[in-house]
């Protein structure tokens, strides 16, 4: 019997297959190319190749004034443009030593949190799409649309706003904004529950994502992960609480962390679910902020000409995808001498190889979706 079962040596040669995933692939979330080394369908190695969307953002900044950079900043993490602008505005204000009115700070927080909900909705929806559930994706986009409508009545734009300028805002919020936002929040709260029932607690979805791509907290710190990806690994680290900027210290909110609900702490399901919990916390923040908005002028602090003193600054904020940092060097002229961005998506992408090894091809999609990258920010 045994001579039938053991094949003669060197007759059958097996070799690893290299599979190019992307840049044109439905679930690389943009123009990312993943070079997968496969043994059958098992991943041996993953190498992300980036740069297809490189627009020389940092070099461009050296030729633009601080005000002119705002629209460029929008185009980095285009799903969270408000967050990008807020970070840039805060960095510039600290560099120039400007105090902005309280009303501006409150509006900025509301906008940033609405943007966080919108961004997480895209993350959650497209994650469902990656796993093969099409319907939750459209439900998420339906509600994101309502947030974009709120942005549209505020500043006229739906995706790239050019709204938060260093020193203030381009427009004040319209008078009906508070009412509409409250209406939206009361409509939206049950939707989170619906999403949970439709997707999060689905047995197949849990099977696909629990215990897949487990990122232990030490590894997460070593790889420089931030935002929901780090919190899903179990570390309570949120810049809104740990390095408060704007008026975040005035609000009461929780920081959800991954607890390994259906598997190990830091698996794909945790990363997915932390985002859903964060949506609920964002709702809480907006509800508190919208009742406390003080009266005032939103443009009083905007300087006519920007000439910050010579020096440098690093300012960071909690963007939906993690810690977004701006390092600005000023030589005293109207343009920054150097701008360096710490992009959360780019740094999160570095962990792909670690997370995918030994999993199947289908899991690459699950892991990539769960770390939620935006290629506009990866490449800048």
């Amino acid at each position: 019997m045994s001579e039938f079962l053991t094949l003669p040596p060197q007759k059958i040669k097996t070799e690893e297959m290299v599979l190019n995933m992307g840049p044109q692939h439905p679930s690389t979330h943009g123009v990312l190319r993943l070079e997968l080394v496969l043994e059958g369908e098992v991943i041996v190695d993953v190498k992300p190749h980036v740069g297809y969307l490189h627009r020389c953002f940092e070099k461009h900044c050296e030729a633009l004034t601080y005000q002119q950079i705002v629209p460029y900043v929008d185009r980095m993490d285009y799903l969270a443009a408000m967050g990008n602008e807020m970070g840039w505005a805060i960095a510039c204000e600290r560099l120039m030593g400007i105090e902005v009115p309280q009303r501006v700070e409150y509006i900025r927080v509301i906008m940033a949190e609405l943007q966080r909900i919108a961004s997480h909705l895209v993350a959650v929806g497209t994650y469902g799409l990656d796993i093969g559930a099409f319907t939750p994706f459209l439900y998420c986009f339906r509600d994101r649309e309502k947030i974009l409508n709120l942005f549209e009545i505020t500043c006229g734009a739906r995706l790239l706003y050019n709204y938060m300028w260093p020193g203030g805002l381009s427009h004040d919020i319209p008078p009906e904004f508070s009412r509409l936002t409250k209406e939206f929040l009361s409509e939206f709260k049950p939707v989170v529950k619906e999403l949970n029932n439709l997707l999060s607690y689905n047995k197949i979805f849990i099977e696909r994502t629990a215990n897949v791509g487990v990122l232990p907290v030490e590894a997460a710190i070593n790889y420089g992960m931030t935002g929901p990806n780090l919190r899903a690994s179990g570390l309570k680290w949120d810049l809104r609480r740990d390095d408060p900027y704007s008026v975040y210290d005035k609000f009461d909110f929780d920081i959800p962390v991954g607890q390994g609900w259906h598997g190990k702490v830091g698996d794909c399901w945790d990363r997915y679910y932390v985002r859903l919990l964060e949506i609920e916390q964002s709702i809480r923040i907006i509800e508190q902020a919208i009742d406390q908005i003080p009266e005032g002028d939103v443009a009083s602090a905007i300087p006519k000409r920007y000439k910050p003193p010579v020096g440098h600054i690093y300012a960071r904020i909690e963007n939906p995808r993690g810690e977004l940092g701006y390092f600005i060097v000023s030589n005293g002229s109207q343009q920054p001498a150097r701008v360096k961005v710490r992009p959360p998506s780019f740094i999160s992408l570095g962990v792909m190889g670690e997370l995918c090894k030994g999993h199947l091809v289908a899991d690459v999609v699950a892991v990539l979706g769960s770390i939620d990258i935006v290629l506009g920010e990866v490449d800048r």
């Binding site: 093969g132 559930a133 319907t135 696909r208 199947l360």
Partner: protein, 356 residues
């Protein structure tokens, strides 16, 4: 039998055979066109959308327009592809799914070929689809296609086992391999359907019902897997393998795969309906019997056949737009660890019950 009337009418064996064989095609192609539109509408309304609205009222001509577009498209064969196999594959796939209809009774009066081992024939012929898919994946010379084809082969071959076991169970219950005879034993009213225990004495019926429901669920799940529908659509898994085995296909050849998918969906649905839900039989009596018109009865039977098939196809669509997709190893685990043991156990219990 329709074949006899055609033969009498034409008095030519070849022509009457051809006409008889082509009859299901006349039904399947419009059905596939309708089903594609129906699926788009069902999914759209599930997802808070409208779906196609422009071509015809509520877009009902949309698929016709799509097919016209596909026919006009350039027929692209990749340079590195194996041209012969690449061209044969879609035809073979469609052939496999079309040949199944030969042994399925559309109504009491029409069955393509009234052979005694009809069920075994269906199982055997639907295996041809695997060859077509594997051929398509291999000939495309594309890694995604190859992975998709390998997955598909593994999946279809594995899921054929629970299907066959359930079919055997039903053969024991119904006492025939011929689907028309099986359907005939479920006539009169819906409580004679095999899902309600067939036309057995009341005690046997009560014992049979839970077993039949288990068998029904198993064959429905495995038929979903056999036609590559979500949650088992891993061979074409759009988010992983782009399009799976038909990544490289375009134009009319792609349409062939598409047509074959929808033909397959209908084939497995009516197979399940014939085994469990009385096939072409009405759940209650016939108007044709009251009036005394066999022609009307025939059309009623055809209506119920289409209705049941479409109902099960709609459930497939409903599942597709609700559930995420399984991973390839979980898919295999579901088949080998759960479906096969349960179906075999079910088979043994039913067999014992029938002997007693």
């Amino acid at each position: 039998m329709i074949f006899d009337s055609i033969f009498e009418f034409t008095d030519n064996l070849f022509i009457s055979l051809t006409v008889n064989a082509a009859l299901p095609l006349v039904f399947i192609i419009p059905f596939a066109l309708f089903a594609v539109w129906w699926e788009r509408k069902v999914s759209a309304h599930m997802q808070d959308r409208l779906g196609p609205m422009r071509v015809g009222k509520h877009g009902w001509l949309q698929t016709v327009a799509d097919i016209l577009k596909l026919i006009q498209k350039e027929d692209i064969v990749p340079k590195v592809a194996d041209r012969t196999l690449f061209n044969i594959a879609p035809v073979l796939t469609f052939m496999g799914s079309y040949a199944v209809f030969a042994a399925i009774p559309f109504a009491g009066a029409y069955i393509g070929s009234d052979i005694d081992l009809g069920l075994l024939y269906i199982v055997a012929v639907s295996g041809l689809v695997v060859v077509g898919i594997l051929m398509a994946g291999w000939a495309s010379n594309n890694k995604y296609s190859l992975l998709g084809a390998m997955r598909s082969t593994a999946q279809i071959i594995s899921y054929e086992i629970p299907t066959v076991v359930v079919i055997l169970t039903m053969v024991i219950v119904g006492g025939s391999f011929n689907l028309r005879e099986l359907s005939e034993t479920q006539s009169a009213n819906m409580f004679n359907w095999f899902i309600f225990g067939g036309s057995y004495p009341i005690m046997t019926k009560i014992a049979l019902i839970p077993l039949m429901i288990i068998a029904f669920i198993i064959i429905y799940i495995s038929s979903l897997a056999e036609v590559n529908r979500t949650p088992f659509d891993i061979p074409e898994a759009e988010s992983e393998l782009v399009g799976g085995y038909h990544t490289e296909y375009s134009g009319m050849k792609f349409a062939m795969f598409f047509l074959s998918e929808y033909a397959n969906m209908f084939a497995v649905s009516v197979l399940v309906a014939s085994l469990f839900l009385g096939g072409y039989h009405s759940p209650f009596g016939y108007l044709g019997d009251l009036v005394g018109s066999p022609l009307l009865k025939g059309f009623e039977q055809f209506f119920w056949f289409t209705f049941k098939g479409l109902l099960l196809v709609t459930v497939q669509m409903w599942l597709r737009w609700t559930l995420p997709r399984l991973r390839v190893d979980q898919l295999m685990a579901l088949c080998w660890k759960y479906l096969i043991p349960i179906s075999i156990l079910n088979f043994v219990i039913v067999a014992l019950l029938m002997v007693l």
